[in-house]
Amino acid sequence: MKPRETFYDVMRRQGITRRSFMKYCSLTASALGLGPAFVPKIAHAMETKPRTPVIWLHGLECTCCSESFIRSAHPLVKDVVLSMISLDYDDTLMAAAGHAAERALEETIEQYRGNYILAVEGNPPLNEDGMFCITGGKPFVEKLRHAAKDAKAIISWGACASYGCVQAAYPNPTQATPVHKVITDKPIIKVPGCPPIAEVMTGVITYMLTFDRLPELDRQGRPAMFYGQRIHDKCYRRPHFDAGQFVEAWDDENARKGYCLYKMGCKGPTTYNACSTIRWNEGVSFPIQSGHGCIGCSEDGFWDQGSFYDRVTDLTQFGVESNADKIGMTAAAGVGGAVALHAAVSALKAAQRKTQNDVSEEA
């Protein structure tokens, strides 16, 4: 078996200059929040370490994660990471199909037992023995368990794999289940978002290659460097939020001025992601910048958190469309009415007793 190629080998073979390679290393270091001292470390890792094999599985999903991934801002990032992955297994992106593709999967598992990273896009539906998602002639959940068994670590790409996303939204007929609830014995890194930002995806892979370990994860298992802050915390419209200047209606004067979308139901204040710093499509824009509130796509169960356009969430548990304010106000009005009635009866009772006492004293 010939020695495994390094990233650098692959890059050079693709005609990428060393200068461009170093640029990629600095860009990645800053994206990961690392100091300049880490640039040579990344370069060194890329030059010397054999490429980490990655198996990329697709379950119940829409492929938006892959679409995002191949649009990574720095062209090099795409080349580097894609060549790494397509060489091993990704049924959507690889040239092989059918039995050849499935054989590639088995070969990769066999060859790199315990050393490959399993990237999962989408999730397995568990209802009806997993029959709602069949890949390669078998329920996806079986393929997932099979590939996960010998994986070093698992990356849950996107909201589907991390939290379930739309297919797991109420009432979740297929019982779509996030990866970490099916595979419980492997380190899992969640990279939520619908889709996640391309630079976040490549950043996570680069970090794992460079330092040979998972990046620091937060309480929910997301890489802290990208999901440590809310969209709101770094939003360029934040000064308008603090000033109390809001868009009151779509296309009003305030919307044209670029005021805060808080009142339009923007979920920026409750959503952990890096959109307001890294942005999308080579840093061109992100939803809030184009005038629409954040829908909170990287949050757990964002489809079931009421309308994208309400500040205060509708609580459908109460059967009718209602929210905390409507329920609270109804209850408060009820109690207020009861108090008033009670006070009136109390006064009447007291007056009645007084009359009776007066009468008995007179008698």
Binding site: D218, R219, Q220, A224, G228, Q229, R230, D233, P239, H240, F241, D242, A243, G244, Q245, F246, E248, N254, Y259, Y262, K263, K267, P269, T270, T271, Y272, G296, E299, D300, G301, F302, Q305, G306, R311, V312, T313, L315, N323, A324, D325, I327, G328, M329, A331, A332, V335, G336, V339, H342, A343, V345, S346, K349, A350
Partner: protein, 258 residues
């Protein structure tokens, strides 16, 4: 002397002599004085906590409402020079932290204060008699009893309500509130480290906002009932209510034993 009084009278002493001579106090007033008693119930830290807490809740409810439904946009100056919503949120956080510190102080006082200071934190749920008194008080509120009983501290029904809405309710609002506060302070901050675990437990930040919001309404409803009951009991019960939370003294209006 009547045998149904709880007082030991001092018949030789003439009370309110000068007031009587000046035409202020009447015979009935003197008779009333001989029958009334008072007990010192609430020490100053308890009373101070009550009013600081009340004020904090008022500020929290009003600013909390505005945080959920912001006031109409204002154009006082450029965003750089205007901080309207920032001040509303500041008031909310400041009042929330004052309430938290006050609540911790109140818990401390439950240990070192008199035994009335412990009523808020300990329900005698296994005491049959206590339950029967709860139902007695309930019947009084439903106009099924002619007359309420005398209580030194809280009546059992009020004690249960206090425990539910204040002891548990405030704890809930403090924990959920500080978890949300930790989001603003950032990952790794004290609030995030102590209470950040609440966010995934609630099912995300937006869901936590919703239940914190519902908690506000629970407390608003409690306040309405509390204020009404305090005023009503001040008038209709056999003891002082509102002034007790100012002076600390519970005054009884009659001298019957029960």
């Amino acid at each position: 002397m009547a045998h149904d009084t709880i007082h030991v009278p001092n018949p030789d002493v003439e009370p309110l002599k000068s007031a009587r001579l000046a035409g202020d106090a009447t015979e009935t007033d003197v008779e009333s004085i001989r029958r009334r008693t008072s007990v010192f119930v609430y020490e100053w830290p308890v009373r101070l906590w009550h009013w600081v807490n009340a004020l904090a809740i008022l500020v929290l409810a009003v600013t909390g409402w505005f945080i959920g439904s912001p006031p109409p946009s204002m154009q006082i100056g450029e965003a750089t020079h205007q901080f309207v919503f920032g001040y509303i949120r500041f008031a909310h956080f400041a009042a929330g932290l004052i309430l938290t510190v006050g609540f911790l102080g109140r818990i401390y006082w439950a240990f070192v204060g008199n035994h009335h200071a412990r009523q808020l934190f300990r329900l005698p749920l296994w005491n049959r008699r206590w339950w029967s008194e709860v139902f007695y008080e309930l019947r009084w509120y439903l106009f099924l009893e002619r007359e309420p009983k005398k209580y030194v501290g809280h009546n059992p029904l009020a004690q249960a309500a206090m425990f539910l809405f204040m002891t548990l309710g405030l704890s809930f609002m403090i924990v959920t509130g500080l978890a949300l506060y930790g989001e603003g302070l950032g990952a790794g901050s004290w609030a995030d480290r102590l209470f950040g675990w609440v966010i995934p437990l609630a099912g995300g930040s937006q869901a936590l906002h919703s239940i914190h919001h519902l908690g506000m309404w629970a407390i608003v409803i409690f306040v309405m009932i509390h204020v009404y009951a305090a005023i009503r009991e001040d008038i209709m019960s056999r003891q002082s209510m509102v002034s007790t939370m100012i002076s600390g003294h519970r005054t009884f209006k009659d001298d019957r034993p029960e």
